[in-house]
Each structure stands twice: as structure tokens, then as C-alpha cells.
Symmetry: C2
């Protein structure tokens, strides 16, 4: 089984998931493979890692993990929800592990969450093997297994908050990093709408962050890059982009919203842009 | 040469520096070894890496690199210097790559910097091969090649700022993470003194951070953990601890202090403590 995929390697009798960036190999020890299936879109695995517990792997790339996936999911979710004062209708593009849905559904004022994930099998595997990540059953959550860009293009002024939890901009998610897609999102948002998108590693792929930031900057009056550190991603640093049509002030987290990573100070802190990224993003 | 040291490995004809944490192997591709010497204290290498340029490696562990070492050095240096309004006498413990000295010497009001590094050969190698990291010649810099803990224990009310830039708490630097050492630093500081110490990875070794925080908290009225992300260190996240006898308000960075990573927003942001670390540090 291990030999079919170049990212599954062995070393001294142990199995590793290996990521090769330019000049850096990262190998995460795997104790067990719980789910292993090739869908029409990608190779899906749920593995049990020594360091991060269970993890969702798409085409060899770690998407989320049991022990630290909440960092990414909380950062991409609570930031737009701290900006919009009362988001009732939410659209999630991607997010097949249901981790963003879990965070968004914590808000009692959220009325409806549409989630558009191209690959039904990712949702199936996450629900079955990642119960700590995936949202529990909730009548407000509506799943659509189709192309996110096409779905969004058919909507107009329909959402208060849109969250783009796309996989890497290679493979099926590439279109979710392009200007026509962001244009569709701007139209799908209400007149005071807010969106957040994951914008890749500012160490390895700041070109992705720069394109996202500049694309959104041409469409929205208020745009901020923000940053955190996701231990399971190579180099740690991760970038998101927040775009808003109207609101420009973070509210404190609502009491009763339980989080494991973010708090008011962390949300505010994540908006600080280190010099080395600012130079590249804003030029 | 590569076979003497287990952390130098080869893969598909390429040379790597390999770090093995529990459940995670990280391998940094090396193009060239520029300096390779075993001192009485440790195995010192300067290598040229594909990802981070030249790097100082002690006993197989990356200490600093040409392309991102300034993140660590700026965070450990400018934080105490943003707290103390006019630090004239500075003590650096460790810091053999002279990267902290470079940052501290940027302040015109700094009159004297004592730097105590146990291993003269680290300073020699850094000066020769890491000119982008190491401080340039400066009459205010006084180097002492001896044990930092012993040196500090002989000083009383002698410094405005002390910076502990220790290697990992295994090997010769272990004593630099213990309570008696911090007690000596408290005494070596003037009555309004400030100190900062590196406190290891909060992902892999939060016990080190917790001991440091709690030890300093028993000695100083004002103590803050602070965090940043160092891409060359495993998991990214890195912790520092700031301790102050009197000052409790960060000043803006002085104009004329050139930095590549920190700015006022980043310094302030680094004080935000994610829930998952707060739980462990403050309990």
C-alpha cells in the first residue's frame, strides 16, 4: 500500500508521511492508516500520527489534525465572525473536514450554513474518523457536493460571511485562488458582508498571499492579511486574508463561544504584519 | 565526514541536516559545509542550506540562519529594549553567533555590552562565515569566553538589560534554564532592570517554558511569556520570557532602529498568549 504513493515513506521500520518543499523534507510518523481511498478528485487518507493524533491527508498533504487543527479552524472562522456583528447566513467553500462548520455553528445567531465541498468522500471520512474536528449534526448545516466556484457564481447578496477553506492552490482547488472567484464572492455577499480566505504559507508561497491580498484589495474597501502558526504545516507560518465591505472593528468574542486557541488578544495580534511579509504583500 | 554525526544524512544523493523530535523528522538540505570543528564544548558547523542560506549548527541543532535568524534575534532583543527606556549597560549570556549583539548595538544610548559565551570557536566561526548575522566590530562590545552562570553570579546591580540567548537546555546550556541562574540574573540587574530569555518550543517542550515562566514569576513583579514563529525551528512556534523589575509599558521602537521583522504592532502582538499555551503556563 505504501509504495503507491511517493509521500508515504519508511525509515528504520517506521512509516512516515513525507512533505518535500524546496530544501526541506518534513516527515510525520504514522502509526496507522484508518482510511485510504482514491476519490474522483484526490487521494484521501485518515492516518493516526504520533505527534498530532489523527489527521486528514489529501494527495499527501496534511489538511487538519486532531491535536492542532483547531488553530487553523478557529483563526479562519472567528476572525470574520468577530468583524460581522450578526452573521446569520454563512457560506463555507471547501472545508470538507467540517472543522470550520464546527466553529461557525457555535454562534447562536447563525441561522444557516451552506457548505460547498467538491468531494463527498472527504466529508464521509472526516465524519467517521475525525469526530473531534468535524461539526456534530446540526439542522442549520446544508452540504452541497459540487464545485465551489460555480455555486458561488449563482448567488447574489445571499450571505453575511463567506469562508474559503480551500486546499492548496494545486489540483482541484486551484480555481479558488483566482480573481474571478473572488469577484463572485464579492457579489454573493450582502452589502455589509465579510469574507476570510486561507492564503497559504508566507514563507514558501507568499506569491499566493500577495495575489489573494491584491485581488481582494481591488474588490473590497477593507482588506487585512493576518497570520498565525500552524505546527502541522511546513515552516509553521500561515496567512489568511480578511475582506470586508463595511465593518472595520473587531468585536470581542461572544461569551459562551468556547475556543482552544483564539481569544481577543490573539485575534487582534494576528493582524500585526511582520516587516518581511509586509514588504512583499504591499508592494 | 557525514558518517561521524547521526544528524548528517543523505537522501537521493543530497546531504541533509536531520532533526528528530518525537513523531517528526525534519531534514534541511545542505549544499556545503563551510566549517566543521569539534570544540571542547560541542560540534560546531557552519553549513550552506538551500532554504535558509548559511546556518550555525551546534551538535546538529540549527541555532541561527542567514535568511531568518533575524526573526529570533530581533524578538529576543527589541522586546526588553522596548520596555527599558534607556538601557546603557547590557549583558548577553550565550549568543555566540553575535546576532543579539548586532540588534542591541543598534541603540545609540547603549554604552557597554558584555557578552559571555562559553565557546570561543562559535564566535570565531560566526564572525568568519555569518557576517549577515554577527555584529560588526564595535568598541562597546566586550566578549568573555567563560561560563555565563558563573559570570552572572559575580555581578550585582550592574546591568539595565540582560538577554539570555542560550542553546537548548541539554548539553552545556542546561544550567541556563535553572532557578539559581535566574536568581543570579535578578541580582545582576539594576533596580529597574529588564531581562528576556529564550524559552524553547511551546509545542515540543512547554515544560521548559513553564519552568522559566514560573521561576521568573517568583523573582520579578512583572513577567510575560511572548511568542513568535521561527521557520527554522521544528514546529515553528517559539517562546520567550520577559521579566521586569519596574517598567511595564512597551515604548514604540526608536526611529532609526532598522529591523526586518519586528515593528511596534509585532512586539505588542507577540504578548498575546494562545489559550492552549496559557492553560499550561499559568496553571
Amino acid at each position: 500500500m505504501a509504495n503507491k504513493h511517493p509521500y508515504l515513506t519508511t525509515h528504520e521500520g517506521k512509516l512516515y508521511l513525507t512533505d518535500q518543499e524546496k530544501g526541506l523534507r518534513t516527515a510525520l510518523e504514522i502509526q496507522d492508516i484508518l482510511f485510504d481511498e482514491t476519490s474522483p478528485y484526490q487521494h484521501i487518507m485518515i492516518v493516526d500520527t504520533v505527534l498530532f493524533g489523527r489527521a486528514l491527508i489529501l494527495d499527501g498533504i496534511v489538511q487538519t489534525t486532531e491535536k492542532e487543527g483547531f488553530i487553523y479552524n478557529e483563526m479562519i472562522s472567528h476572525m470574520p465572525l468577530a468583524l460581522h456583528p450578526k452573521a446569520e447566513d454563512i457560506l463555507i467553500i471547501g472545508g470538507g473536514d467540517l472543522g470550520v462548520a464546527r466553529e461557525v455553528l457555535k454562534y447562536p445567531f447563525v441561522r444557516r450554513v451552506d457548505m460547498v465541498e467538491i468531494d463527498e468522500r472527504v466529508v464521509y471520512a472526516s465524519r467517521r474518523y475525525l469526530p473531534e474536528v468535524a461539526a456534530p449534526e446540526d439542522d442549520r448545516l446544508h452540504l452541497y457536493f459540487e464545485d465551489g466556484a460555480t455555486f458561488a457564481a449563482q448567488k447574489e447578496a445571499a450571505y453575511d460571511v463567506i469562508i474559503v477553506d480551500a486546499a492548496d492552490p494545486i489540483g482541484p482547488a486551484a480555481v479558488l485562488f483566482e480573481h474571478p472567484f473572488y469577484l463572485a464572492l464579492e457579489r454573493a455577499l450582502r452589502e455589509d458582508g465579510v469574507m476570510a480566505a486561507q492564503s497559504d504559507s508566507p514563507i514558501h508561497h507568499i506569491d499566493v498571499g500577495k495575489r489573494t491580498y491584491q485581488s481582494l484589495k481591488s474588490l473590497f474597501p477593507i482588506v487585512y492579511p493576518y497570520f498565525t502558526t500552524v505546527p502541522a504545516y511546513p515552516s509553521g507560518w500561515w496567512m489568511f486574508t480578511l475582506a470586508s465591505k463595511h465593518y472595520d472593528l473587531l468585536r470581542p468574542l461572544d461569551p459562551g463561544i468556547n475556543t482552544r486557541f483564539v481569544n481577543d488578544a490573539m485575534l487582534r495580534a494576528s493582524l500585526a504584519v511582520p516587516h518581511l511579509f509586509a514588504e512583499k504583500l504591499f508592494s
